[in-house]
């Protein structure tokens, strides 16, 4: 089972929930448990799990380099590039690696074979273990602008296809390419939402991207509930979104988080509800 923990708004509690689910699964299940922190722009699950890193490698994309001797300025590469990463300025063809997606279409279609590809490193991938949990994360280098290829590469490296184990993916926040790449292939997406107007607005965006556009199965966990979540509950009812769990606002959880202690470590009474949630998701029963 592959579970993606995502959110529209940042700071709603994705990481503390993802880490807690992994910790509960490792304790209560006989299956292998893996946690991938895919929030490569700000990976922080390691702060809670303190993993031992066993493997490390660089990751990047291949970007074009145009040989000015061979290029006859036909413009084919520029016409095909979907991300405006190339510009012909007469003497030479300029390449902007920050805009390139590494798709290779320019190289493939160059009639003069004037393009070769060079490695453009985006970040570092690391894998290891945290107790019984297999752990991996990626870190985008400062100044690099493309998290999505790094997320794709980390999943390719560390995530096998659907198997017997439990894989929990800690996704980046938002509703654009990085979160879509992170959630791709998940059996179930858990959207963590806080019951604020901002939280509700961004929940709507995330549902649009992950359920309406990608067709993924999506459920909602309400975090920091103050007991009156009418607007978010009405939204979930209207959209037919199952509310999987409600976690109340609790200063103790926030204080523990600030010390690098997860929800389930700080509040052991959450172990049973989280084990029950994992069980329900494994049996594809969503409604709490």
């Amino acid at each position: 089972m592959i579970l993606a923990v995502a959110s529209g708004k940042g700071g709603t509690g994705k990481t503390t929930l993802a880490v807690s689910l992994a910790q509960v699964a490792a304790r209560s299940s006989s299956k292998s448990v893996k946690l991938l922190d895919l929030d490569v722009e700000a990976p922080n699950a390691a702060l809670f799990l303190n993993p031992e890193i066993h493997e490390r490698r660089e990751s990047g994309i291949r970007v074009p380099e145009v040989n000015p001797e061979a290029c006859d300025h036909c413009g084919r590469c520029i016409e095909l590039c979907a991300t405006h990463a190339l510009a012909d300025v007469g003497e030479s063809v300029l390449v902007f690696p920050d805009l390139c997606s590494g798709c290779g279409v320019c190289t493939w279609h160059c009639p003069q074979h004037a393009i070769r590809e060079v490695e453009h490193v985006l970040g570092t991938l690391e894998a290891g273990t945290a107790g019984d949990i297999a752990f991996a994360h990626g870190r985008l280098h400062v100044g690099r602008a493309q998290p999505t290829p790094l997320i794709r590469d980390l999943k390719r490296w560390q995530l096998e296809g659907p198997g017997e184990g439990i894989a929990i993916l800690d996704a980046p926040p938002g509703a654009s390419c990085p979160v879509m790449e992170a959630a791709r292939g998940a059996d179930q997406v858990i959207l963590v939402a806080e019951p604020s107007p901002f939280g509700l607005h961004d929940l709507g965006k995330a549902v649009g991207a992950l359920r309406e556009a990608m067709g993924l199965s999506v459920g909602v966990v309400i975090n920091r509930s103050l007991g009156s979540d009418d607007a978010i509950l009405a939204f979930c009812r209207e959209k037919g979104l199952p509310v999987l769990l409600t976690i109340p606002f609790d200063k103790g959880i926030a204080a523990a988080y600030a010390e690098g202690v997860s929800l389930v470590e700080a509040r052991t009474e959450w172990e049973a509800p989280l084990a029950d949630l994992l069980d329900r998701l494994a049996r594809k029963e969503q409604v709490a």
Binding site: I78, T83, H84, A85, A87, D88, V89, G90, E91, S92, L94, F96, D98, L99
Partner: protein, 107 residues
């Protein structure tokens, strides 16, 4: 001389746009004939690389000067490569910016 002005509107009474890459229109002005042609900026709707797209478009029209508040690093690289210079102007109409350019050129 041919000039491209990043503009909010379609004639020279329009304000110079606040940005180059995502301005609504470019006004192409031929200083010899006085002809003014407004064209939509193809970079305006781009999800990324708007500056490159806009600079490529402008360079393809054979202009020598661009009037805009400033350029991003990628647009600057494209225009510089194409031998196009920037006349930085902001907070005025396209006509006023043209007058300013003429004044500076005649000095």
């Amino acid at each position: 001389m041919k000039i491209a002005i990043a503009s909010e509107g379609q004639d020279t009474s329009s304000q110079v746009a606040g940005v180059f890459g995502r301005c609504a229109f470019f006004l192409f002005v031929d200083t010899e004939s006085g002809a003014v042609e407004a064209r939509s900026n193809p970079g305006d709707g781009a999800s990324g690389g708007a500056g490159v797209e806009a600079a490529r478009f402008v360079a393809g029209q054979g202009v020598q000067v661009v009037i805009a508040p400033r350029l991003g690093p990628k647009a600057e690289a494209v225009l510089e490569g194409a031998g196009i210079r920037l006349h930085a102007q902001t907070g005025c109409t396209a006509a006023e910016a043209l007058d300013d350019l003429r004044r500076k050129e005649s000095e």
